[in-house]
């Protein structure tokens, strides 16, 4: 992955940007973290936060005018959080910690002026091991004399001066800044003029005015000046910045280098305020001495600002407990690894690629596009975990095998103007309704409607395998060309996305834009109950289809409701991007998270959505259940398991060819004579482990011919294995007198073990992305 690709992505995610209170604070105090600690009464830790960025925090925090308040996002709701009050409370109820100076560096600096900028500069340089000599004309305390009474407790100035003394800062009170004194000071290698001390005249030091506003550098090398006309906190920031300039100057580095973010700046952090309720601020009896309770109540008003717009809406993003910018960095690091554990592999391939994050993010940070790009690189560099997509790709290969896939023009025609492309899942989930839909289309569309049954190839694309994707698309195109190039009517929104990206020149229409223009099927019936419309993620960018299905529901007389996150903001069912194939637990989490968006049953128009949501126990229907009711209670019809889907795919082909095209049924396969019996618990276990009935039958057929491998005389059971592909299957069974195999258990593994019968060659579908010999090139 190009570093630029990562940088572009990172720049879109604002979660790591500071909140406005920090970016607009002259000292960049971590005010959000401070307020959060104050809200939970962790005052000592809160004080450490102040001390981290505030010089002489024990005094400075009392002097803070709260520049942040007007920038606080809560001010858009009611009133900005009163940080100065929190700072006062924190200082009043905690003790200061001693600053830890670095060992004496031998460097010295002279400071003229006793203003706050001078004290803060002395503090900063003292911590860095400087010896600082500070010259002032008036008493230091006099600098604060103009402040209203009780601005700070008396002890805090004393403590500040003690701290400075502990940092080897020496004070010298001078009678005046005479020409001799000035000449002597100008002879110092480093001199800071604290112009917030009214006794100092820059002209007397040969300066026209203060130094550079950011670095405080004057035109004279080694002479720095500033601090005039500022608030105490701004003066503290000036002193701190001048200290930074002095360190750079002595290192021979330009004082202006690497100062990004030191000045105040507006933040890019995005914060959604829509759920922030007004919370009236407390009214302290004595604003100068807020109680702990008052401070706690005020701190609780901190929102606290962050973005996480996408994370809050996506079960995948929240599952990994961080946010896109960090994920992007981690993925990039995993991709760049030459050796070692590729930690982010499974996370990269667990995203459903649904695109919601890209839509909710005002900057369009789309984790799905990032994951797909990463997957492509993983496949290309042969770092895609071998087992992750194997099953899904084998399933795709099965759907596209000669046994299952077919194209037929409408009976009586050689070429058809259109062809119905139901996709791989609709016929295997709703075979009867799909057949009726096809007949319905032939009755209502002119020019003939062919039937084109296969998988579009989306799983290959989702798995990042570009060659396999292209090969599948080429295979599809070949059949389409032979059929005379009919316009395809796509039932599945994911197919539509695939055609748009890989077969853009093939003319396609969505079934959902056609149906509202046709009369309703005679049998079409609405349900009495209101249903929540669930839009598929693949149709997020298709407002035309989103509108069309609502028209269709209206024509049907079906009462529907909108979900809070529907239409272009719809949430994923967990199937997309092969998320549930790679990571079944997370897939179910995503589906459950969607299911909980409403108490109503869902009305879906993507069969993957319907089945994924139904699989987690949600009442869900497909539009075909209303258009062509099958008489069952569709809302609770179990989603078909993998074996059943594959069987139904075969049956769909067989029945369509037989009933519509009067073709003889296909020869029965070799596996059909094997009869299996097992209880529901075993069947469910096999489904979870993705062991197909056909896998069991292969093992049993082989064992029947060659004899089983292991026998348990106590239980009378046999245990046999076979490795028909890259997986070894084990079946524990008892043959019954009537020829039926009673299966007690089955499991599988991928490691190659000596003495296992079978070749173990991978299917062509999964070759891309790893070396068939097991190692990596």
């Amino acid at each position: 992955m190009e570093q630029k690709y990562l940088r572009d992505f990172e720049a879109r995610c604002t979660q790591e940007e500071p909140p406005a209170c920090r970016s607009m604070c002259p000292l960049h105090v971590e005010a959000r973290e401070f307020a959060c600690l104050m809200a939970v009464e962790r005052l000592d830790e809160a004080r450490k936060i102040l001390e981290r960025s505030m010089p002489l925090a024990g005094l400075a925090a009392f002097l803070c005018p709260g520049h942040c308040r007007e920038h606080c996002r809560r001010s858009e709701v009611d009133a900005g959080v009163n940080l100065p009050m929190l700072e006062r409370a924190c200082l009043l109820y905690t003790r200061s910690t001693k600053p830890m100076p670095m060992p004496a560096s031998g460097k010295t600096a002279a400071v003229a002026g006793g203003g706050f900028s001078s004290l803060c500069l002395a503090y900063e340089l003292g911590k860095k091991g400087f010896r600082v000599n500070l010259y002032h004309q008036q008493d230091i305390a006099a600098a604060f004399a103009a402040l209203p009474p009780r601005t700070f407790p008396e002890r805090s100035l004393g403590e500040a001066l003690e701290q400075l003394a502990a940092l080897r800062v020496s004070f010298e009170q001078v009678k005046d800044f005479s020409p001799d004194r000035i000449a002597s000071l100008r002879g110092e290698k480093i001199l800071y003029l604290g112009l917030d001390d009214p006794d100092l005249d820059p002209a007397a030091f040969g300066l026209a005015g203060p130094g550079d506003p950011l670095t405080l550098e004057s035109p004279v090398p080694g002479l720095f000046a500033g601090g005039a006309g500022l608030s105490f906190i701004q003066a503290a920031a000036a002193g701190k910045r001048a200290a930074g300039s002095i360190v750079r100057f002595l290192q021979g580095v330009a004082p202006s280098s690497a100062r990004e973010g030191e000045d105040i700046y507006p933040t890019k952090l995005i914060t959604d305020l829509s759920a922030v309720a007004p919370l009236p601020p407390p009214d302290p009896a004595d604003p100068l001495v807020p109680t702990r309770e008052e401070a706690k109540a005020e701190a609780a008003r901190c929102i606290p600002c962050d973005c996480l717009l996408c994370v809050k809406k996506c079960a995948y993003l929240s599952h990994y407990e961080s946010y896109p910018k960090r994920y992007g960095r981690e993925f990039y690091n995993t991709l760049a690894l030459k050796f070692g554990n590729r930690r982010s592999n499974i996370q990269i391939i667990s995203c459903a690629l649904c695109g919601l994050c890209g839509v909710v993010c005002p900057n369009g940070a789309d984790m799905g596009s990032f994951c797909l790009e990463a997957r492509r690189e993983m496949a290309q560099s042969r770092h895609m975990p071998v087992s992750a997509h194997e099953f899904a790709l084998e399933d795709m290969a099965y759907s596209n095998s000669a046994e299952v896939a077919f194209y037929r023009p409408q009976p009586g025609r050689k070429r058809c103007r259109t062809a119905f492309f139901p996709g791989c899942r609709l016929p295997s989930s709703l075979p009867e309704q799909t057949g009726r839909l096809y007949t319905f289309l032939t009755e209502h569309l002119d020019g003939g409607v062919g039937l084109f049954y296969r998988c579009c190839g989306a799983p290959a694309r989702w798995s990042g395998r570009e060659r396999l994707t292209a090969a599948n698309a080429a295979g599809l195109r070949e059949i389409w060309e032979e059929a005379g190039g009919p316009e395809l009517i796509l039932a599945c929104p994911s197919c539509a996305l695939f055609f748009a990206s890989e077969l853009a020149d093939i003319p396609v229409k969505s079934l959902w834009e056609i149906l509202p223009g046709l009369p309703l099927p005679k049998q079409a019936r609405p349900l009495k109950q209101s249903l929540a419309l669930h839009d598929p993620c693949a149709a997020r960018a298709r407002p035309d289809l989103i509108r069309a299905v609502r028209d269709l529901a209206g024509a049907l007389g079906q009462e529907t409701e909108e979900l809070p996150l529907g239409r272009d903001l719809t949430r994923c069912c967990g199937y997309g991007g092969l998320a549930s194939a790679v990571n079944p637990e997370l897939g179910a989490e995503i589906a459950l998270s969607r299911a909980r968006d409403t108490d109503k049953d869902l009305l879906c128009w993507c069969i993957m959505c319907r089945d994924s949501l139904s699989a987690v126990g949600k009442g869900a229907l497909h539009f075909l259940d209303l258009l062509f009711p099958a008489g069952d209670e569709a809302r609770v019809r179990p989603a078909p398991g993998i074996s059943l889907r594959q069987e139904r795919a075969l049956a769909f082909r067989r029945e369509m060819l037989q009933n519509i095209w009067n073709e003889k049924p296909d020869e029965e396969g070799d596996l059909d004579p094997i009869n299996i019996e097992m209880d529901a618990e075993v069947a469910e276990r096999l489904e979870r482990r993705r062991i197909l009935l056909s896998d069991l039958k292969r093992v049993l057929l082989y064992a029947g011919e060659k004899g089983g491998q292991f026998y348990n005389p106590q239980t009378g059971r046999t245990l046999s294995s076979l490795r028909p592909k890259q997986v070894t299957f084990w079946v524990e069974y008892s043959p019954r007198a009537d020829g039926v195999f009673v299966v007690h258990n089955a499991y599988c593994h991928r490691m190659l073990v000596p003495g296992t019968p079978g070749e173990g060659l991978p299917t062509a579908a999964v070759l891309e992305g790893f070396d068939p010999r097991g190692g990596r090139a």
């Binding site: 975990p385 026998y711 991928r750």
Partner: protein, 70 residues
């Protein structure tokens, strides 16, 4: 991969071909270009190796995933 004898449970199983009891014998197992020698229940005569379910779905699966993420 460590597969200590105590972890592997293959009690009761005998070789279906010759009827011999299984013995813990060294076996070379391989995945993703890595191979290991471990002691597994095998038939000394016929060479069959039994992988019990808890091994296949426990330690073995763990190592498979680890090797896939290398």
């Amino acid at each position: 991969m460590k597969a200590e004898a105590g972890e592997i449970r293959a009690e009761g199983w005998t070789c279906a071909s010759c009827g011999s009891p299984l013995e813990l014998l060294p076996a070379d197992i391989a995945y993703m270009g890595s191979s290991f020698q471990v002691e597994l229940p095998r038939c000394r005569k016929c060479g069959f190796t039994l992988i019990p379910q808890d091994l296949a779905e426990g330690k073995m699966l763990e190592v498979e995933k680890l090797l896939e993420d290398k």
